[in-house]
Amino acid sequence: MSTTKIHTLKSLLRVASPDHTRYYFLPQGTTLYYDDSLPEGLDRFYIYVNVEGINLPLQEIPKPNFIAPISAYPIEGEEIIDLLERYPISKDDLEGILKSQSPDKEDLQNLIHRLQKYVNSLP
């Protein structure tokens, strides 16, 4: 019996492009398969992707046991406002992000202040 552990995303997960110049989101409901934790304090997961209708060329890995991860980290504090302004996220997505947060008092105060400004700016 497999002992692999999984996590199913309860909210959007922000992931950085390999060059860290852009951000994308793994959707709520994506299943992450736990691989390992590194002593630096990070957890490593893999995901399965069914690729249909595209023939992706393959190459040998450059070194034994080579892993090229992308990084994911939480959407923090005021970044939620930027997210609202730049990405078409749903009410459920926003709710999921807020629920997954553990902001400190200062972050929360700033967030409420900016959210109020954002709401006031809406037509």
């Binding site: 630096e40 046991n65 892993i67």
Partner: protein, 240 residues
């Protein structure tokens, strides 16, 4: 007594003191705890993260980072495998240096693993603290951060990470040495590979056991047992 002779005498006295735990040979010219009359307004803190258990799995290796507090700055240097990895058990990888300017954010991440981090603080002069910052700045000179989260910038440094030769422990110690040149004198007896499994130890021996402390737990043991002038000025425990 000329300057060289004074230095040599002070060095001998400091070594004796370190061994005995008692300050010896105190005089106006050779004070073993001498700071050359510099005010120690800055500090460095060696942060030794312990093992932790998560998702039912033990993670015994630990982690080390170096914090510098000086002249309105509070910077934590945290080196590790935050990028590509390769080799046996992912023991090698891109050398990634995280430069944190918000200590609370750094330690929050460490606490989130469930581990306990011990901080060993040494008071140093502003000039010596500056040397530590310069050490790390030389590592990232001309390198653009490949991640910028405001309070933390991540840099790919020239060196690759290597579990035995260039890891979080070795770079933190190397970074502390410009401010505390004698810090690791006498540390070789603590180089026991605490935190490694029997298999890891065997692999390390086959690879060539490093001649310096490379495991966080060994560094923690060493720092906890420092005596005399080299005793940390303060210790702290960070956990949930």
């Amino acid at each position: 007594m000329n300057d060289q002779a004074k230095d040599n005498a002070a060095d001998r006295a400091r070594k004796q003191t370190k061994k005995s735990g008692k300050c010896v040979n105190q005089s106006q010219t050779t004070n073993c705890c001498s700071n050359n009359n510099q005010e120690l307004n800055s500090s460095i803190e060696i942060l030794v993260g312990g093992p932790y258990t998560k998702n039912g799995k033990n993670h015994p290796y630990g982690h080390v980072a170096l914090r510098v507090i000086t002249e309105g700055k509070d910077i934590t240097y945290d080196y590790g495998r935050y990028g590509q990895t390769w080799g046996l058990g992912g023991s090698e990888g891109e050398g990634m240096l995280n430069v944190w300017t918000n200590f609370s954010k750094y330690i929050k991440g460490e606490k989130a693993t469930g581990r306990t981090t011990k901080g060993y603080t040494f008071n140093v002069s502003d000039d010596d603290a500056k040397k530590v910052i310069e050490f790390f700045e030389s590592k990232i000179k001309g390198v653009e951060p490949n991640q910028d989260r405001g309070y933390m910038k991540r840099f790919r440094i020239k060196e690759d990470y290597h579990a035995l030769k260039s890891n979080c422990t070795t770079i933190s110690v190397d970074g502390a040495k410009p401010a505390k040149p004698s810090l690791m004198e006498g540390s070789e007896h603590y180089n026991n590979g605490n935190g490694l499994t029997t298999g890891d130890k065997l692999a390390a021996k086959l690879n060539g056991w490093p001649n310096r402390i490379f495991m966080p737990a060994d560094l923690g043991n060493y720092l906890s047992n420092l005596k005399g002038c080299d005793t940390p000025n303060k210790t702290a425990t960070y956990n949930k």
